[in-house]
Each structure stands twice: as structure tokens, then as C-alpha cells.
Symmetry: C2
Subunit: 135 residues, 2 copies
Amino acid sequence: MKIVIEQDDREPFYDAISMVHNLDLNFERKRMKVGDYKFNDIIVERKTIDDFCSSILDKRIEHQVENMKIESEEKFIIIIGNIKDRKVNIHENCILGKICSLVYKHNIKVIQCENDEQFLYILKNLYEKKVNKIK
Amino acid sequence: MKIVIEQDDREPFYDAISMVHNLDLNFERKRMKVGDYKFNDIIVERKTIDDFCSSILDKRIEHQVENMKIESEEKFIIIIGNIKDRKVNIHENCILGKICSLVYKHNIKVIQCENDEQFLYILKNLYEKKVNKIK
């Protein structure tokens, strides 16, 4: 099964990661208004832990969440990296509180992982689950 | 506001962690059939990363999820510890795939954190969000 996922053209080129080929992931790069990755009705926002922290501080995350809510019923934020490794100056309780808020109040599905390889595997796994659900 | 949370009596005594007192968390220990922590309609299953891995291998997680589904609409699994630090022999893709399955197929809210202090903060945060929602 060839997997084609829309990818925002400001996201990293993943071709250098051999896992992309092993997983048979194909990205269609384009400028996306909402989210970073999209397939069927699923929208995925990818955030490194530092990007996630910054977006809490400058409140960017609020707008992104509102836009995702308008755009799709199935919204994921995938956070890459551990809280303890953050470089951004923010208390860990702010991060945890925001994750609780996203998951509980906004009904966003948040998945945390440790590196890009894990992120790519999650994308593929969600894709397969979605496609099997449709079938 | 005094926070009282039901806690399964096989769970750790958290009194030694000063944070429990700082957060004003009070646990009512009792034998629980489903989940490890409960307040209002929220059920929380607490799993260390190794416990989570073991429960995938021996399929215990499947039963726990089914029981949680019967018991409550608001189901959380909080995983403590990072995937890379696991001692249980299981491929990381199995762990990630199970997290995707819980979040996407079973509509369980999964939150990952790094230690017991973070876990306790999440419990308190969810409690406050729930209570404010009811008000």
C-alpha cells in the first residue's frame, strides 16, 4: 500500500531518513493553512518540545487549536522530545497543564514521542488505522 | 479547595512526596475494580513505562481498556517514564502502535510524563478542570 500524506512545505525534508523509505511513506509537499500533515480527515500538527513550549508562551497554540477545530474532527498534536530536555524557559507545570487542556478541554489527541523516527512511525500507524476504519 | 481523589489501595503511598501536600491532594484509599484513581466521572489508570510495556505483552491492557469503557466516559491512561528508558524487552513500535490504538481507536486520553511529581500535578490539573467544568 502506497501511503501518501500531505506535508506542509515548511516542514523538514524527511527523505534523508531511511525509515521514510522503509515505511513506504510519500509526502506531497504543499503550503497548508492548518496543520503540518494531513490525510483523509486527519490533521496532524508536529511540534518539537521547544516549539511546543514557545507556542504556549506566545499563545500561538491557541490559534492553531482553534483553526484545527474548524478544519477537522480528527486533530492530533504530536510532540517530539522530552519535557526535561527543553531549552525554552518555561515551568514544567505550564507544559503539563497545556497538555491536559488540549486533551481534556479541546479534545485534541496528543501523542508524545522522542525523535523523528518515532514520529514517522506514528504517522504511518495512524494512516493505516484510518484507512482500515474506512474500509 | 480540598481535593479528594479515590486511589486504589495497591497504588503507592504518595504521602512521602512533599508535592502531595503542596498540591493539597488527599487520597482516599480503597480497593478499586477499575482504574487506579477516580474523581467525579474521571477514571485514571496510572502506568509506569515498564508496566505499560508488560501489559501490552501479556494483553492485560486490553481487558483494562474494556473495563474502563464500561465504567466511564472519561478515561485516562497516564504513562510515567520515557520509552527509551524501558527495561522490558519490547520493540518501540509496539509501544507507539498501542498508544495510537488507545488514543485513536479506543478514544482513551493518554498523557505521558516523566516522574511521580509530574503525575501528581496532572491529577490535580485534571481535577480542577473537571470541577470547573461542572460549576
